[in-house]
Amino acid sequence: MSYFIQQLLNALQLGSIYALIALGYTMVYGVLGLINFAHGDIFMAGAFFGFFIAVMLKLSLVPTLLLAMFLAAVLGIAIERVAYRPLRKAPRMSLIITALGVSLFLENFTRATLGGQQRSFPKLLNVQEFALGGATVTNLQILIIVVSLVLMLLLRYVVQKTMIGKAMRAVSDNKEVLALMGISLDTVVMATFGIGSALAATAGILVGMAYPVIDPYMGIAVGWKAFIAAVLGGIGLIDGALVGGFILGFVEIFAAALLPSTYRDGIAFAILIIVLLLKPTGLLGRPVVKKV
């Protein structure tokens, strides 16, 4: 039983991280129909922002987190402005290739300027263990889960209740009519990239604290997994990203617990393939209706 609770907590922790990153994929897809392959690298950049803020400015956890979120938002918005916006009317394929290019650029530029070695992430939290029903929990685990849940609830509020959130949902329904309402698509896209990137940066710092090492390629595997989570839940849907993130977290942790741990990625991808075969629009996705 205690073993089960232990794994449950691990799964919640991993699922929160995937969900935080998956939200960025799904939001950008919802607004632009673009898979932003550079999103995993924003997660990495967020971890590095956190690293330098904590090491050089010696800030504590909360200001480090907030400042890194802000910087990542600026980076995400800048990438959209420079690399994606000029291609908004170009064929979809050009945009996808560009996104892959941006991803490789961020990884290699970071490696070239900062070096490819792993860096140990500064201790932003005095980690303490305590017992919970026979399992051992750390305050870091709780922090990761709570911060993620709070941000998810906050995002849900923004998307459901605020004007910019309503505009984000409206874009996926009808881009053209948005302008007739007096709303600039660019404003909505900027907000989307900003919010998604800030969430990814949070995930980057939380992963940095948990591991606790970071490197320029840390975004690749996690980015792909989060992308899978978004597709699994139904890309373009906020709730889909949350559901997909947690399912993937649970599957990976329990696959590793029951089978040799080398199977866990294989199982994650196998699940993706099976779900998409059975339900191409993802678990929460509605079937695509072609309008005449």
């Binding site: 505009a167 949902r169 302008a179 007739l180 309402m181 007096g182 600039s184």
Partner: protein, 237 residues
């Protein structure tokens, strides 16, 4: 200078010329209609005014301002609203959310907004009943009402309407047109594009007839409704 002045407009899509040397004007307080068959260029004319299509030649002047220099999303703030062809619903958003988005440019003015919502809901009681329903689940007539309600919430001085009668039962068409007359009486100028020339000429003050991208006739709606050529071509004899 007229309220809205469209001069020598030319619009091409690739090799196809959608509008050729089209000029028309709208005076403040009028209902003006552009009638014509499918493909005559009526929709293109409206889309050019609100910046959704860029013309190769011509001018669009509203209240003395060159609208072709205004970005599409700033046209509303200049005072022109557009009820698009096919109603342009945000289908996954509720009726209320659709209307709220139309208030984007004046979202800070909470007190006035409350009054405007009340006014528009009193004009469309059916929308008030369906406030929290997703707009995709509304009937065609209700969606058309919502499209007009949205434009009202944007508070323009000139409202462009693209085929508000399309796909609606005759009784609903009558209701929509009755509301349009109301809206006009309350001070909004209307530029109405219609295939249903019969209804459009009934409520309009003046009309222009478009054929394959240019204006072939113009005049008071009353006169045009009596004209034998119009009766033959658009009013079923």
């Amino acid at each position: 200078m007229s309220f809205l002045e469209v001069e020598n407009l030319e619009v091409t899509y690739g090799a196809i010329t959608a509008l050729r040397d089209v000029s028309f004007s709208v005076e403040q307080g009028e209902i003006v209609t552009l009638v014509g068959a499918n493909g005559a260029g009526k929709t293109t004319a409206l889309r050019t005014i609100t910046g959704m299509v860029a013309p190769s030649k011509g001018r669009v002047i509203f209240e003395g301002k060159d609208l072709l220099k205004v970005k599409a999303h700033n046209i509303v703030a200049s005072g022109v609203t557009h009820v698009p062809e096919g109603r342009g619903m945000f289908g996954n958003l509720t009726v209320m959310e659709n209307m709220e988005l139309a208030t984007w440019t004046r979202r800070k003015d909470k007190g006035q907004l409350k009054k405007d919502f009340d006014r528009v809901f009193s004009l469309f009681p059916r929308l008030a009943e369906r406030k929290s329903q997703k707009s995709a689940t509304l009937s065609g007539g209700e969606q058309q009402m919502l499209a007009v309600a949205r434009a009202l919430m944007s508070k323009g001085r000139l409202m462009l309407l693209d085929e508000p009668s399309m796909g609606l039962a005759p009784i609903l068409v009558k209701e929509i047109f009755r509301i349009l007359v109301d809206i006009n009486r309350q001070g909004t100028t209307l530029l109405l594009v219609e295939q249903n020339a019969h209804m459009a000429l009934k409520i309009a003050h003046r009309a222009y007839v478009l054929e394959t991208g240019h204006v072939v006739m113009q005049g008071s709606a009353q006169e045009l409704a009596k004209d034998s050529r119009i009766r033959e071509a658009y009013l079923g004899g």
